[in-house]
């Protein structure tokens, strides 16, 4: 095994720092810009600062969720660079195995669920999954998770909706419009509604799950605070303030709501993206069209 050179190690440290520093930066922003609040409260994303745009446009508020999702994007970029730093075919390192495992798993998932035509979708799906999972996991370090803001998730859902419509239109707009009259033309209004319900339900599902987790955690924490106060409140001094029920019990909920539910929702969002895109695509008709085109050219 070849010894690593100094410059390689320095680049390694820099990349790791690039992965970790955004989170530190986020915590610092949170401490600096967030007004200290008394007790526990449930609130939406706070506005960090407002960009004043020239007259015809509206003012642009930069919220906590936007800043946090930028931080996640930067951190993920450096994580990818770190994992792929120093790839070699002869002496694969541990991190290369990890990177290969991730790539292989997503490619298997995409080709298994979407078919071979969509095999180029693996990077997109992996990006959505990683962004969503890391955004939800931000709660672990006390930051506001961008996925519990409807605007963020709705943006992703609109992106997916555009992709779905693009692949449905592959056979031309006439074919696309005809697909609404399926199975009977009489049902067209319902088909149109269900078309628009797709992005709405995707956005609400992800947002609702993450938000409900944090709301329930806060409610349980407040309830435990009340119970502790009831039991120990009469005792004098430090003992009366001791948070003996709040230690440990909310962590059990956090394992489910923050870690399990966050990763599961990321997986489900990516899965639904794949399924909607691949089922909406009229593969047989598209192949037929390609064959006709070829025979015309010949």
């Amino acid at each position: 095994m070849k010894e690593k050179s100094l410059s390689f190690r320095i680049a390694d440290v820099l990349l790791l720092a690039g992965f970790l520093l955004p989170f530190v930066f986020g915590i610092m922003l949170y401490i600096l810009l967030e007004p200290a609040s008394e007790g526990i409260e449930i609130a939406g994303a706070k506005i960090y600062f407002t960009l004043h745009m020239p007259m015809p446009m509206q003012d642009l508020p930069i919220t906590e969720s936007q800043v946090n999702s930028w931080l996640v994007i930067v951190a993920l970029l450096f994580l990818c660079l770190f994992l792929t730093h120093g790839l070699s075919a002869k002496h694969p390192t541990r991190r290369q195995h990890a990177a290969e495992w991730i790539v292989e798993k997503t490619e298997n998932l995409v080709s298994g669920n979407m078919g071979d035509y969509f095999s180029g979708f693996a990077p997109f799906v992996a990006a959505i999954m990683g962004l969503s999972a890391f955004s939800s996991l931000l709660t672990l370090i006390g930051l506001y998770p961008p996925t519990s803001d409807l605007n963020v998730v709705a943006g992703w859902a609109v992106l997916v909706f555009i992709l779905i419509t693009y692949y449905k239109m592959k056979c031309g707009p006439v074919h696309y419009l005809k697909s609404f009259g399926d199975p009977v033309p009489f049902l067209a209004p319902l088909n149109i509604i269900s078309e628009f319900a797709t992005p709405v339900s995707m956005a609400f599902r992800h947002y609702g799950n993450v938000l409900s987790g944090s709301v329930i955690s806060v409610l349980v924490a407040v309830g435990l605070q009340g119970v502790t106060h009831m039991i120990l409140g009469k005792l004098p001094g430090f003992l009366g303030q001791f948070p003996f029920l709040q230690i440990g019990i909310p962590a059990i909920l956090s394992i489910y709501f923050d870690i399990f539910s966050g990763c599961l929702q990321a997986f489900i969002f990516a899965m639904l993206t794949m399924l909607y895109i691949s089922t909406g695509f009229p593969e047989d008709d598209y192949k037929e069209k390609l064959r006709k085109k070829k025979s015309k050219q010949n």
């Binding site: 449930i42 599902r205 947002y207 609702g208 599961l264 489900i268 899965m271």
Partner: protein, 98 residues
């Protein structure tokens, strides 16, 4: 009078939120059925545990949607509606006085 009106608004918002969450029954029953069937399937064929679990989680997520709609409405009723309604009430009262 004003206090009574605000009290009615707050109370009705809380009641509405609670009633909206009755919708949680449906997804609960549905997901319970899905998990029961998945357990049966795994018991019958332990070798396809992986794919059965994945499919079950997907189905659970889709079944959950209606419950989450109700949750969104309940959250709106608790956190947004009271403020809006009280503002409207105060505005109308002020305009009536003038």
């Amino acid at each position: 009078m004003m206090e009574l009106a605000i009290g009615i608004i707050l109370g009705c918002c809380a009641l509405g939120a609670g009633m909206a969450m009755i919708a949680g029954i449906g997804p609960g029953i549905g997901e319970g059925n899905a998990v029961a069937s998945a357990c049966e399937a795994i018991g019958r064929q332990p070798e396809c545990k992986g794919s059965v679990t994945t499919t079950m989680l997907m189905g659970c997520a889709v079944a959950e949607t209606t419950g989450l709609y109700a949750l969104v409405i309940a959250i709106l009723l608790i956190f947004l509606a009271p403020g809006r309604l009280v503002n409207i009430l105060v505005d109308t009262m002020l305009s009536l006085k003038q």
